[in-house]
Amino acid sequence: MDWKGFKKRFTTSGSSRTAPFTLPSVLLEIQPDFIAGARLAAVKHQREVRRIHVAELPAQAVSPHAGHTNVSNPDAVREAATAVMSALGNGSDRFGLLLSDAATRVGVLALETLPDDHREAEVLVRWKLGESLPFPAEEARIHYQVLLNQPGHVELLAVAGRDQVLGQYESVLGPGRGTPVLVLPATMALLPLIPERNDAGQLLLHLCCRWVTAVVVLGSRVCFWRTREVRPDASDAVADVATEAARVLAGSRDHLKVEMGEVWLCARPVTPPELEEELARATGCVVKELAPSPELGSLLVGNERLDFERYGAVAAGLARNAEAVGHPPSAGSARRE
């Protein structure tokens, strides 16, 4: 009998073990400037945002970084998070946590082969992803999904977060006040909103609280992912985002041989003036706003409708993802898609 394995299953899970994807009914997004919460409800086999609430955070309360302490003012964050959760009427202990992209690292890995054994594959991914992590790889929680699996060529989308950093966010509500069953970088939740297009690549730009993430999507595959900090001033931020978009576009054209068909822009809470025009000029592509579909928040009115339009894209993305997935996939299926 495998007593060690049995004992390990009963002891506290290690930092390297992550849960399979699941979508709880309540989502909490913690960004440097705000905390947004959304309650999802199932309506006729699809998810819909039923409630949404936003609380602002004081400056410097959260400073996202993949390797350092993120929450500088835990009391303020806890107070805001508790207010949001109370407004949502969260009676459940389970909730999803969406973090600033800068708090995690996402990478697209290309391998010749992926071991069938789950543990061996995880070791390989950890080693491969560890080259780009600003902290020891053994301290990382890693999860990945297979994008392409052909003989001699495997592509993975891997996400990693330092256990200590994620633990700070997970305990934001205080001890005994619930445990997140889903932790993702916010931009990851936007991917389901992008329509599939095989004839050309698509560039997603997610600007949120001085951080911009550029994602290149080809068909249903992520080809490139990068997160950069932009300058706080609005005009500087526009310039930085446009520069980043132009660089990613050039890099994709040169290295990935991908021509961009369109650029999706999601700037939260509001799009800086002239950003779309600047992006169009820098990339030479059609720039479209990636906004949450109104039908995903059809029951929201008043301020909640306004908050949904300004902050609700990630919640809408996960609601759309639940439609695509159908039901929470198991870990094995998630890795072999």
Binding site: R9, F21, V181, E196, S220, S333
Partner: protein, 199 residues
């Protein structure tokens, strides 16, 4: 595209079920605790009862020992010492199964020929066993010789010896007379008869 990534820590079985099983576990533990308390109390009560029983037995034993000592003192008086010795002797013989009065008579009777009758049978304690003195009267010398021969062959007796022999006078009617023989032997005890062995 759909995503299936998640950085949430995978909860262990303990994390998942610890709270759910804690209440039943506490209930079971409480029941076991109550059972243990009940068993301990029962064992303690039994222990106290057995201690009281042992104390009673000890007191009774002391009383009996005291009575025994009194009886010993009573029997140790001079007027009871002779009886005590005789009884002790008989008890010893009975214990050794060497003396059985019916058995002695049976042993002697089996030795008597038809013409010989037992006149007297004496039994005396000797230094090397039980001495038996037998006085028989025979019609003639031949009958007495046969008796002596039987006595010598008998496994119940040892060391037979003739102590005296006398010829009786005839009475006035001409009847009687004969020979009277006194002999002694050491009685070894009655051997089981064949009939008894067969049984």
């Amino acid at each position: 595209m759909k995503i299936s990534l998640n950085l949430a820590a995978n909860p262990s079985l303990r994390d998942r079920y610890a709270l759910a099983v804690s209440a039943p576990t506490a209930g079971v533990a409480l029941v076991v605790l109550i059972l243990l308390v009940y068993l301990t109390r029962s064992a303690w009560v039994n222990h106290k009862a057995e201690q009281a029983q042992i104390a009673d037995d000890t007191r009774q034993q002391a009383t009996l020992q005291q009575k025994e000592a009194e009886l010993r003192r009573y029997l140790g008086q001079p007027k009871y010492s002779g009886t005590y010795r005789e009884v002790k002797f008989v008890n010893e013989l009975i214990a050794q199964k060497k003396l059985s009065v019916p058995g002695l008579f049976d042993s002697v009777a089996k030795l008597l020929p038809v013409d010989v009758k037992l006149v007297r049978l004496l039994y005396a304690e000797g230094g090397n066993g039980a001495a038996v003195r037998i006085e028989v009267n025979g019609r003639n010398q031949g009958a007495l010789d046969e008796f002596m021969s039987n006595l010598e062959k008998s496994p119940d007796f040892a060391d037979p010896a003739v102590a005296g022999e006398a010829f009786d006078k005839q009475n006035s009617s001409g009847a009687g007379g004969g020979v009277t023989l006194n002999c002694q032997a050491r009685y070894l005890g009655a051997t089981p008869s064949e009939e008894t062995d067969d049984q």
